[in-house]
Symmetry: C2
Subunit: 573 residues, 2 copies
């Protein structure tokens, strides 16, 4: 692992005096539907401004801007939206905080991953070029683009057959959400785009290049999403060539090997970057993080044994450890990616808040709509109020939370959701609660997978939109997991974490742990498991595990067969 | 099997002249929520009046009239409602037809079963007595009262252990919907009501006693619902005594052995019956039928090989055959119960229209409510319109239609519904269609169970509310079953069938086949399977059968465990 000359942390020369004047940092968190910025006083830790800008193109899963229809399981984005975020949120937080650009010391950002952009040799996304703007493969493939499942499966099988040692570090199975299946899909389906691509670039890395004018690739993206391992690099060219000769030579050319760990910064804000953001050229830009990982220092989860769940539309589970172990179905781990000297494991659930929203959008009766309206509360609030009154087990329902496939511990995007125990007495709030509970069982499955493989879990933190605004759900999680859960009062953990990385990049703090000690959002609530509830949930979890293994581990492949049939039927005509 | 002296068919003396004047017959069909009457010209076959009266107490599943709360799975009725039907629908059809009571030659009726009333020695339901009116067990246990599941299971096990030969005739498993589990539940839970009961009587038999003043018990009720077999009678007193000494001596006392086959009539209308109905005393009252069975002659299904599905809130499957075979999971068969000389098999699905209604009541979004309202169509129509546009397999969903347990071929009321294949793209109409399709798979399962046991199916008839008004669904059935389906244009097949039995009772026709030839409603539509659709449905049916066997045949008893947990939780305060 090499360091970029001249921009290694703690060695660049920012004057102490200058630091004290330039005491403000900005963190930007690029999520699935919007970018959010936080302006932080890096000395006092107080938050001076928060801004959000929704991507105008949101997630393109039906058509691209030209009107061309997209096949099943596509999820694309438009990179112009990411630039719009910069143009909007930075002036917004500055004006909220009454801060001038000159007082901003540094910038950090985090991004969803693997969110992949094919760019040309000048660093421009191919979709910006009118030649390619009618070609879906020229756009950004969002993390939840699931159309490369066939590639992911073939790659897994091929790596297994060849006994590739890196496979075990990724839970033994390659996810369609990762970079290489997405790249291979482009190569297989659109040789022209593959040829025109100079770099397949993570959106986060592309943005740091836009801001600094220098190309760098963050170890978290390469490590968690593209099989890059500290000290070992990418899988061999031999592997990729044997898989598909058209992938020959990609490593080191179309996939950059300029990978940097967290003890580096991305670079300094360029003149172009300054023009785009309104900030001053020359301030440090931190190495981009994955969105979930950025949240860890924001809640003080910076030590081995800290386990964190970022619960939102999906859930990301992260665990810092001192040791490493290859664990089946865990997405991967990276050393020095998030905290220097730490190994950080990642696991995840592909559908959490998304599933509840789906239920509300599709399956809530008009009577409830009226009731929520009369009470002046949201549908989530109404359903939670009703669901709260239910006793555990009263509905007789158990769900499998795989509405968007299963990330951990099965790592198969072609699984689907299930609801069992329905009777003519089943009420909407019972289904809603069963969906909540299923996500808690899914999290317990992941936690047990870590523990059963010898990794130590000391403290559980929860963050993300749902963790902050839904005590009912987090209590269910505490009861299902049987462990206390700490929640910090912030809905902007990602952006705050990025700001903390920015604060370290400026040199205000010598380390992320030091910065987190001062700047992390304090834990405001601890959820303690209720022993009676735990006992009831143990029974239901037992049922969940039987269904989980039956449908997820190959005994009955019905979900895959049905999804295959969907594809067949939809591809007719 | 004895005949009632003086009232055997074809031997009583009604003058031909009188017949021609008294050419009208009335059939009354007692369903789950209402009684419906048809006035028929027994010579020409034309329908002169149709009336319906909804039971004021409907189905009591939460409380009885005193306000006392009912436990889970109760489904009671109030027998006063049945008398109200008589008081209302008969004058109504007469007035519609412009017919005077004097011109009515006979009366027939059919009833749901086993719908069981405890009556005292004067023939009055115990719940009419203020001493017992606060006691749930004094009321009518409707066919879908499922609270005697434990009794049904214990009885099955006990009969199996003793090698009772009658068990095989009932598909090898006793349903909680049948008479004996209901009787035993009363004995176990309310000895006082059991003691006060002179007869446990099917509601249909009780009504014929109310109308004629004579007690008789129709072979269809005793045969399908109480283990009575032609030539063999009930199981031995030894069996019942060994099961529970408190049941000793019931056969022949609290359970009457005065069982009559279809070549008999119930009696003649008494003076009290005449006062109640406004009809003339002395006209014959046909032996009551089970509601579904009455529909067979109404659509001309009177010959061996005729298979009939009466599709409504639940579905009843009936098959006339020349032979008998003991078939696992089929509800039972009775010889001479429906057509003299024929064996008629019965099977059923416990939840069909009920399931669709549940979906509409609970899980349809307000946007759809508005859309249906704007288009001026019902929610069923809207959902069918949307569901019709889907290709087979396009939704990727498969459901198990056990929202009210499974009657055939598993015969376990403590199973529940399941929905698999859900994704974030799943739409309400897709779930609705999956529910429709699941009921079609359930019917195919039953049909194949007959055929695999060597019984010949020649023609498939469909009747009932859904069969007439829903061509979309019946086409799905034809495609799933892979056989043509005949539908007669009547929503009153039960009442028409009862009128046909009445016409035979009057002597206007010498046999049910003769009467059906003249009076049956003609087939108005034949649904032919589409071979491409059949092929697609074969794949989905294959998936259904795997789930059916996995959850229904003991490999994973999760549904029972969850329902047991529901009961435990609800029984805590």
């Amino acid at each position: 692992m090499g360091c970029k000359s001249g921009i290694t942390l703690f060695t660049h020369s920012i004057e102490r005096k200058e630091i004290m004047e330039k005491r403000y940092v900005i963190g930007i968190d690029y999520g699935t539907l919007s970018g959010r910025a936080v302006l932080l006083d890096a000395i006092e830790g107080c938050e001076l401004g928060v801004a959000e800008f929704a991507y105008p193109h949101a997630v393109m899963d039906k058509t691209i801007p030209s009107g061309k229809k997209l096949p099943e399981h596509y999820a694309l984005q438009h990179p112009a939206d990411y630039l719009e975020v910069l143009r909007n949120v930075i002036p917004d937080v500055l004006s909220q905080g009454g801060i001038v650009a000159d007082d901003v010391a540094g910038l950090g950002l985090d991004f969803t991953a693997s969110t992949l952009i094919p760019i040309d040799s000048s660093g421009l996304p191919l979709c910006f070029n009118s030649v390619y703007s009618d070609e879906p493969h020229a756009y950004v493939k969002l993390w939840k683009h699931h159309a490369a499942q066939a590639e992911a499966d073939m790659m897994t099988m091929f790596a297994e057959t060849r006994g590739e040692d890196w496979l075990a570090s990724y839970g033994g199975r390659i996810s369609s959400e990762w970079a290489w299946p997405k790249i291979w899909q482009i190569v297989r389906e659109s040789p022209e785009i593959a040829r025109a691509t100079a770099r397949f670039c993570e959106a986060g890395d592309w943005l740091s290049q836009v801001l600094t004018g220098e190309e760098s690739h963050s170890a978290v993206f390469a490590g968690y999403k593209a099989f890059w391992r500290s000290g070992k690099g990418y899988p061999s060219d031999d592997f990729f060539t044997a898989l598909d000769p058209r992938l020959s030579g990609f490593v080191g050319s179309k996939v950059s090997t300029n990978v940097f760990t967290v003890d580096n910064i991305a670079g300094k804000l360029s003149a172009d970057g300054a023009a785009l953001t309104g900030l001053c050229a020359g301030i440090p830009v931190a190495l981009p993080m994955i969105d979930a990982h950025a949240a860890m220092p924001a809640v003080g989860a910076v030590n081995p044994g800290d386990f964190m769940m970022i619960i939102g539309t999906s859930t990301c589970h992260l665990l810092h450890t001192a040791e490493t172990a290859d664990i089946q179905g865990i997405c991967g781990y990276v050393k020095d990616g998030v905290i220097p000297g730490c190994v950080t494991y990642e696991a995840g659930q592909a559908c959490v808040g998304d599933g509840f929203a789906w239920f509300i959008d599709n399956l809530v009766p008009s009577m409830y709509t009226t009731e929520a309206c009369l009470e002046g509360i949201s549908m989530h609030q109404l359903l939670r109020k009703k669901a709260e009154r239910l006793k555990i087990g009263e509905s007789g329902l158990v769900a499998l939370d795989w509405f968007n496939g299963n990330r951990s511990i099965l790592n198969q995007s072609n699984l689907s959701g299930m609801l069992l125990g329905l009777t003519l007495r089943t009420r909407p709030e019972e289904i809603y609660r069963a969906l909540l509970e299923a996500t808690a069982y899914g999290s317990r499955m992941i936690l047990e997978q870590f523990e059963n493989n010898g990794l130590y879990i000391k403290e559980i933190h929860a963050a993300g939109g749902i963790a902050c605004k839904d005590p009912f759900m987090i209590q269910i999680y505490a009861d299902v997991l049987g462990k206390p859960i700490q929640v910090a009062d912030t809905t902007q953990a990602g952006a705050t974490g990025s700001a903390i990385y920015a604060a370290v990049a400026t040199g205000i703090y010598p380390s992320i742990r030091e910065a987190a000690r001062q700047l992390a959002v304090p834990c405001t609530k601890q959820y303690i498991p209720n022993p009676d509830n735990k006992k009831q949930y143990d029974k239901l979890y037992q049922e969940y595990t039987i269904l989980h293994d039956y449908f997820g581990k190959g005994e009955n492949g019905i979900m895959k067969r049905l999804l295959h049939m969907v594809q067949e039927v939809k591809s007719e005509n």
